[in-house]
């Protein structure tokens, strides 16, 4: 396998492995927990290093994953005291643990190569140098296997516990009543997030793990209402970001992980603007259409009301309408013009009159709205 292919393979695997638990983080409104965990795993690595004194020991990863779960537990214990909000609890726990890690590193591990930069920033370009060698044969980059195993674990967990995850995400009360132990599911999910963060930060750096975990699910969230579709779309978006980001990085000769994060942002921006139904364009169009519909109906009601109350058929002056409805002049003109085009009103000498058709439309709208 060429290094280019290996890097892309790792990128796609990491991206999909991150996107899967990320979907649940986004839906549970716990996105910032991923940020917290990706920082505190540094402390786990440092502590485990003090025990093993070996930077390549798998215990380091275990320590990191445990620290991730401990972070969640600490944050929630703090939050449960009821003395502070959830976001504040996150914002207190992870800087503290991170500070401890930095202090430990500067004080005791200064001579060892345990670099904060390499944890926080990571670099995918170096991944192919670390080979997996079994029985003297080179069978590909190590990261392919670690991230591959990670992806398999996440896939299996979500497939097996799909029902539990789904119900405890959308209705934790119901899940508790049905005996699904939402607490257990929660910590299971958090273990998955920690493991994923640990497995992924070596490749892409811990801060960008957040982009991989949150970016694709948020993008998918704007496109679908179905959890399964959201999982699939997130994985696809993650894979796309991985490959496109890598290609862009090669062309521009810049940081691969950074470029993937930027690609995540670009894809999100495109979906944010153009998504059907939930995109910016369609939301704004819908809002302005609703505003006009509302204005038309309201004006018809107003005119009809005038006819009934005053018992005069000679209509209402435009100035009076402006005075009564407190609308902007341009908006009023727009509504009047539209109603006139529809044939609901006639305007003669700045006097607005309801036509028969307008009267009927007004009555019909009234019945639809209030006579259920």
């Amino acid at each position: 396998m060429s290094p280019q292919f290996e890097i892309q393979l790792i990128a796609v695997t990491v991206a999909v492995a991150c996107a899967l638990p990320g979907v649940f983080l986004v839906l549970r409104q716990m996105s910032m927990m991923s940020d917290s965990i990706t920082h505190t795993i540094l402390l786990g690595i440092v502590l485990a290093f003090f025990i093993t004194h070996d930077l390549s020991s798998p215990l380091l990863l275990l320590g990191a994953a445990l620290m991730g779960v401990a972070t969640v537990w600490l944050t929630e214990t703090l939050y449960r005291t009821g003395l502070l909000k959830e976001d504040a609890a996150i914002g207190i726990v992870f800087p503290l643990l991170f500070s401890l890690a930095i202090i430990l590193i500067t004080r005791y591990a200064g001579s060892v190569h345990l670099d904060t930069d390499s944890v926080l920033l990571g670099e995918l370009a170096f991944a192919p140098f670390d080979r997996m060698i079994i029985a003297g044969r080179d069978i590909g980059a190590k990261a392919i296997y670690t991230t591959g195993i990670l992806l398999l674990i996440n896939l299996a967990a979500i497939l097996f516990f799909f029902k539990e995850l789904k119900i405890s995400t959308f209705d934790p009360m119901l899940a508790a009543i049905l005996g699904f132990l939402p607490g257990l599911v929660h910590y299971g999910l958090m273990t998955m997030v920690s493991l994923t963060a640990v497995g992924a930060f070596q490749a892409v750096g811990s801060i960008l793990v957040v982009a991989f975990m949150i970016g694709p699910p948020v993008t998918a969230y704007l496109l679908t209402d179905d959890l399964k579709h959201m999982l699939i779309l997130s994985s696809l978006a993650g894979a796309f970001n991985g490959i496109a980001g890598y290609r862009a990085a090669v062309v521009l000769d810049v940081s691969i992980a950074g470029s993937m994060a930027v690609m995540t942002g670009i894809l999100f921006l495109l979906v944010f603007i153009f998504a059907p139904r939930r995109g910016l364009v369609s939301v704004l169009r819908r809002r302005s259409r609703q505003k006009i519909e509302f204005g038309k109906t309201l004006l018809l009601f107003h005119l009809y009301n005038h006819e009934e109350k005053v018992k005069v058929q000679e209509g209402v002056a435009i100035d009076t309408i402006l005075l009564h409805l407190h609308w902007h002049e341009r908006f009023t003109k727009n509504i009047l013009w539209r109603l006139q085009k529809d044939g609901g009103i006639r305007i003669e000498n700045k006097i607005v009159k309801l036509t028969n058709q307008g009267r009927q439309a007004s009555l019909q709208a009234y019945e639809e709205l209030f006579m259920q």
């Binding site: 910032m32 503290l96 982009a211 949150i214 970016g215 969230y221 999100f268």
Partner: protein
């Protein structure tokens, strides 16, 4: 003790301590609003989002002056905040997801720009990264002056718009009905918080800045139910931790300043959570125990009729 007094006369210590104290005071006051509005993680987000601005400012203006880099950080921090506000306003995506997304993407962009800069021949780019990750001991007197000026501006703004900010923080709908635009107030408050974060970047760095914004305010919140008391207490806590952290890092060898400050402020939070009268955990336990005793000895009968 002697070494402590010797420290007080030390020029570097004075500069760094003054800078950290100022930072603590400023972020304490603005943090009160951020914490009450449940936007405390904005500090974390914006400080990450500052990276592309710093690098961009360096690329465009070719200077490593603190003012210019801070200006770049400010611009990209504000841009990130605007993105977050736009995303939460127009879609169903919640604040936390929007924050996580925007900050990580901006940080990624910053990394891309950094690697781009590194390729420019003779570009003396070293130190840009350090700028973002903070190094209090590298503070210069000029930087402290800049911090003081920004801090004064922010405090003046807070005093000037006190009523509006208070109303908006506690009941934005009511503020809207009184004719204060919540959009404008949100922008104003966010911009002020961003400015406070940016001036703290150099001292404690990206990751620890969020603690400076949150922890003093959370600690202060436990002691009072009044906003002005909270803001003043929070400023006090922030300032004290800044000073204590700097002193600790100067006295103890190999203790970095930023993390030391965070340790101090976290300790304050712990003390406040445990010992604050009324809200504190110990007081709550004491009250529970008292009620339990009362219930045991007198039974509930005495109180039932009065309920």
């Amino acid at each position: 003790m002697n070494s402590f007094f010797a420290l007080l006369g030390d020029y570097t210590f004075q500069t760094v301590a003054l800078g950290s104290m100022l930072l603590g005071i400023i972020s304490g006051v603005l943090g009160s609003f951020a914490v009450l509005r449940k936007q405390s993680l904005l500090g974390d987000g914006v400080s990450h989002a500052a990276l592309p601005g710093v690098v961009m400012a360096f690329i465009l203006l070719g200077s490593k002056n603190t003012e210019i880099l801070l200006l770049g950080a400010l611009v990209s921090g504000l841009a990130a905040t605007l993105f977050i506000i736009a995303i939460t306003r127009h879609t169903r995506i919640k604040f936390d997801s929007a924050l996580a997304l925007v900050m990580s993407v901006f940080f990624g962009l910053g990394l891309v720009l950094l690697t781009y800069v590194q390729k420019i021949p003779n570009s003396n780019q070293a130190g840009l990264k350090r700028f973002i990750f903070g190094q209090a001991s590298a503070l210069l007197q000029r930087d402290v002056h800049l911090m003081a000026a920004c801090g004064l501006l922010l405090l003046l703004l807070v005093m000037l718009f006190w009523k509006e900010l208070k109303l908006f923080t506690f009941d934005s709908d009511f503020a809207h009905s009184l004719g204060f635009s919540p959009k404008t107030l949100n922008l104003l408050l966010s911009a002020m918080i961003v400015l406070a974060i940016i001036i703290g970047l150099q001292t404690v760095g990206v990751i620890l800045m969020s603690a400076m914004l949150i922890a003093p305010a959370v600690a202060a919140r436990q002691w009072t139910n009044r906003l002005w008391v909270m803001a003043i207490l929070s400023a006090f806590f922030g300032g004290i931790s800044g000073l204590a952290g700097t002193a600790a890092s100067s006295l103890v060898p190999k203790l970095p300043t930023g993390p030391a400050i965070v340790l101090c402020v976290s300790l304050l939070v712990l003390i406040s959570l445990l010992f604050a009268p009324g809200r504190g955990i110990l007081h709550k336990l004491y009250r529970q125990e008292k009620n339990r005793r009362l219930l045991k000895t007198e039974g509930a009968a005495g109180n039932v009729s009065s309920i």
